[in-house]
């Protein structure tokens, strides 16, 4: 059940988030949207387990990526974002989850809505589509506190500029760039109306982020005509002690 993953690369996404690339022995492959459980064990045998979405597209090399946000009072995230170095080993269980997934065979319009670190599994979907040469229409609405909190900015820009583009909208909740057309605020009905697929196109929607964000976004999608069975959600939150 637990496989050993060796850290082969580290990349800082923001001041507090880091992508860890792991080479996992006997990795069975995964589908975009799935996650892994990561287990770390102290010398006295005490271990902690946390879930992280896979950020990488499926690939044949047995390499997977997770992007970890450092929580100020976290027990595991400070270790993963600040202590871990190349050649360290972590245990992973997975891939996990078959509901919140996007498969390359899907051709319908896809609406992705990310709140903060909820971008991670949605990025796996975008990367998966790209590596399969897919052309399914994708739109991403990515809400974050401020521009410095955005993961994968350059890559998202490239996908947005690409021929079969991923249409990209950022929304900021605490502070926005100078001259940003929308004042910092949470997503609302107006933003959903402007930046997401009209519901009569019957998109499949994926919403990921903290629970309150997901409830709000899913409610807004539902209110403009998307049926609940076309809205898939994944809620992020602490699974260790809530401090």
């Amino acid at each position: 059940m637990w496989r050993v993953g060796t850290v082969v690369a580290l990349h800082n996404e923001t001041a507090t988030a880091r992508t860890i690339t792991l080479e996992v022995r006997d990795w069975p492959g995964h589908v975009a949207g799935q996650h892994v459980d990561v287990r770390v064990t102290a010398p006295d045998g005490y271990s902690a387990v946390r879930s992280y979405s896979l950020a990488s597209a499926p690939n044949p090399e047995g390499r997977v990526q997770i992007t970890v946000e450092r929580l100020p009072k976290g027990e595991v995230s400070p270790y993963l974002t600040q202590e871990v170095v190349v050649d360290d080993r972590l245990e992973v269980r997975g891939p996990i989850g078959g509901w919140f997934v996007w498969r390359t065979q899907q051709t319908e319009p896809i609406q992705l809505i990310a709140g903060g670190s909820g971008i991670v599994p949605l990025m796996a979907m975008i990367r998966s589509r790209a590596s399969a040469g897919g052309v399914a229409p994708f739109r991403l609405l990515y809400s974050a506190r401020e521009p410095g909190a955005i993961f994968y900015r350059n890559e998202l820009q490239a996908f947005s500029d690409h021929e079969h583009s991923v249409s990209l909208t950022y929304a900021y909740t605490r502070s926005a760039p100078k001259d940003w057309p929308r004042p910092p605020s949470r997503i609302d009905a107006a933003l959903i109306a402007n930046a997401t697929w009209p519901s009569n196109l019957v998109p499949t929607c994926y919403v990921c982020g903290p629970t309150s964000f997901v409830e709000s976004a899913a409610g807004l999608l539902s209110a403009c005509g998307n049926s609940p069975d076309k809205i898939r959600t994944e809620r992020f939150g602490p699974t260790g002690d809530r401090q």
Binding site: M1, H35, V36, D37, V49, S51, R93, G94, I96, G97, G98, W99, F100, R103, Q106, T204, P210, T211, S212, E215, R232, T233, E234, R235, F236, G237, P238, T239, G240, D241, R242
Partner: protein
């Protein structure tokens, strides 16, 4: 009894723990709440995981669907809150 505080996750968060017992993907499993009869995917259940165990509650009525405690060499499972749980033996789900 209602709550405005969003202190729960969803069935995706518990799937790793549940894989100790379920060999098939539990997130796509359909379950019926024994209290209110609502039928939903397990991924949509409200999961409370910051306590001494895992507690899955019906998203509609909040009654307990399933509880799991994993301590030392033992796993305890209580599924009295579900009338049934139905898992697809084919690996692909339809979208």
């Amino acid at each position: 009894m209602t709550s405005d505080t969003h202190d729960y996750l969803d069935g995706n968060a518990a799937a790793g723990e549940l894989s100790k017992i379920f060999t098939m993907d539990v997130t796509v499993a359909e379950g019926q709440c024994a209290h209110c009869g609502a039928t939903k995917r397990f991924a949509e259940a409200h999961l409370y995981m910051q306590c001494p165990g895992v507690v899955a509650r019906c998203a509609v009525c909040e009654h307990v669907l399933l509880r799991l405690v994993s301590v030392r060499q033992r796993v305890f499972l209580d599924v009295r809150g579900m009338t049934y749980l139905s898992l697809d033996t084919q690996l692909q789900d339809s979208i």
